[in-house]
């Protein structure tokens, strides 16, 4: 008889590993299947996020930000340094150490919580059976009362720019560049493209970003996108819009000629490395047996309802492999919800309050709806905006770029969106998330006491500005 679990999770990314830990905490006998192996063949937990996504990118962004600050912004403080250099190999190996610590940490958490790791490729069969094929080819079949599919996503490849070792790279390759390229090309001005471009621009690369769309960061609030475009441009990121890559050519095995079209016609660009960051697609290859009963939607995502149930009772899917934003915390919260549902609770997730961050400098972060979305929906809104240039703490920190923008419903005063450009927008946005989960009005935030001096005061002032009551800024004249 095959071994049986209450829950088998396929995939140990931030969706799957969190679901597994939560399920185990709730007393369910839980296993998690993972196919990722390191160069020694050992199973690696953590998925895209820990290995080639959120964490390594942020480690490099942090190191390069500090480098850039040291090289350019120290003088104003009176800090004198000579000859600031980046040892790129050391920077990358620090990143590797952090990744290793964190993925090892998940292994430890699985042990502490009693989650069984099943190494190999997982496939959902009919009747909630899961087949796990180990590296050596042996397949084992397990029974489960519940299965959670958390197989994540993989980068989209485009025919004009096929991946080429050391020259044309996806996110995994980009994170292991170990020498500053003189010229770097990036295809795609989305979150990943801008983060990767920022890393190398800070170290001195001449970075060109090609974006096929004619708008910049169209998913962001228009004021955020405008400010970001201005500031990133100043940093030397050359962002070309309406620029569609039509082909690439490797020259002498060491340069890439990129052909693209823009408003002016056919263009060429020669770079030392090219990063392709045009998006990600759900990873479902080999995941589902023909008779598993689980369906994909028209875009290739595993089809689920708002509670992450597939059509097959007891089979759920979460994270990047299902609809919704491709974000680690969205995957994790879906994992918690599904584990709770399996344990018999009526869990639900609030998809309206999922924060988004882009870790450029300054950072961009938002939660809720953008001004243009709300206007398109015909919602009458009030907008309050407060610039960090008027914040004492931001001045003390020499980080005065950006603003906080709060959008409230004109009639009910309820906060509908919080949009931040600023040095630590990533951490400030949690204030917007908490407030919105409590259905905060702008007035609620107006009446709270924010510590001085903090950049968080800009959240307070932006809320006040919604009603033309900001203190540290001359308000618009009342209409």
């Amino acid at each position: 008889m095959s071994q049986k679990f209450d829950v088998i999770v396929i995939g140990a990314g931030p969706g799957g590993y969190v679901a597994a830990i939560r399920a185990a905490q709730l007393g369910l006998k839980t296993a998690c299947v993972e196919k990722w192996v390191d160069n020694k063949g050992a199973t690696v937990l953590g998925g895209t996020c820990l290995n080639v996504g959120c964490i390594p990118s942020k480690a490099l962004l942090e190191s390069t930000h500090k480098f850039h600050e040291a090289a350019h912004d120290f003088d104003v403080h009176g800090i004198q340094t000579s000859d600031v250099q980046m040892d790129v190999k050391k920077m990358v190996s620090r990143k590797d150490t952090i990744v290793k610590n964190l993925t090892g940490g998940i292994t430890g958490l699985f042990k502490a919580n009693g989650v069984t790791t099943l190494s190999g490729m997982g496939k959902l069969l009919a009747n909630k059976q899961v087949e796990v094929t180990a590296a050596d080819g042996t397949a084992t079949i397990y029974d489960a009362d519940n299965v959670i599919l958390a197989s994540g996503s993989v980068p989209v490849e485009i025919p004009p720019a096929p991946l080429t070792e050391g020259l044309i790279l996806d996110n995994a390759g980009a994170l292991n560049i170990d020498e500053t390229p003189k010229r770097l090309g990036v295809i795609g001005a989305g979150v990943i493209g801008l983060e990767m471009g920022s890393i190398w621009a800070r170290l001195g690369s001449q970075v060109t970003v090609l974006e096929a769309m004619d708008g910049f960061l169209t998913l962001c609030d228009k004021d955020v996108a405008k400010e970001a475009q201005k500031l990133l441009g100043k940093q030397g990121l050359d962002i070309k819009l309406s620029a569609r890559c039509t082909g690439t050519e490797i020259i002498d095995g060491k340069e890439v000629k990129v052909k693209y079209t823009d408003a002016a016609g056919e263009q060429e660009l020669v770079v030392d490395k090219l990063i392709v960051a045009v998006g990600r697609r759900p990873q479902t290859q080999g995941l589902l047996a023909g008779d598993s009963g689980v369906k994909l939607d028209e875009r290739g995502f595993i089809f689920v309802d708002e509670s992450c149930r597939t059509g097959v009772p007891g089979v759920y899917a979460i994270g990047d492999s299902v609809r919704g934003p491709m974000l680690a915390h969205k995957a994790s919260e879906e994992g918690v919800m599904v584990a709770d549902i399996i344990a018999g609770h009526k869990a639900a997730m609030n998809y309206d309050v999922i924060p988004n961050i882009i870790y450029t400098f300054p950072e961009l972060a938002w939660v809720g709806k953008t001004e243009q979305e709300l206007k398109a929906e015909g919602v009458k809104i009030k907008v309050g905006k407060f610039p960090f240039a008027a914040s004492g703490r931001a001045m003390a920190s020499n980080a005065t770029d950006g603003f906080v923008k709060i959008i409230a419903d004109e009639e009910t005063d309820r906060i509908l969106g919080v949009h931040i450009v600023g040095a630590i927008a990533s951490e400030l946005i949690a204030q917007g998330g908490i407030a919105m989960e409590f259905c905060s009005s702008a007035e609620d935030l107006q009446l709270m006491c924010f510590a001085h001096p903090t950049v968080s005061e800009a959240v307070h002032e932006a809320a006040l500005a919604v009603d033309n009551h900001a203190i540290h800024m001359a308000n618009r004249k009342k209409r």
Partner: protein, 56 residues
Amino acid sequence: NSATDSFKGKAMASPAVRRIAREFDIDIRQVPGSGKNGRIFKEDILRFQRSAEQAA
């Protein structure tokens, strides 16, 4: 303009209140809130649920 009038759409309640309402099939509108303008806190809905249990 009152901060906590019930807004259009979703109930004006915090995540834990919504969770408990779902779990125990409570109509949030029946729960007396002790907060400003009747805002409902977790402790309010827990109290409501306990007294409903005792009544049953």
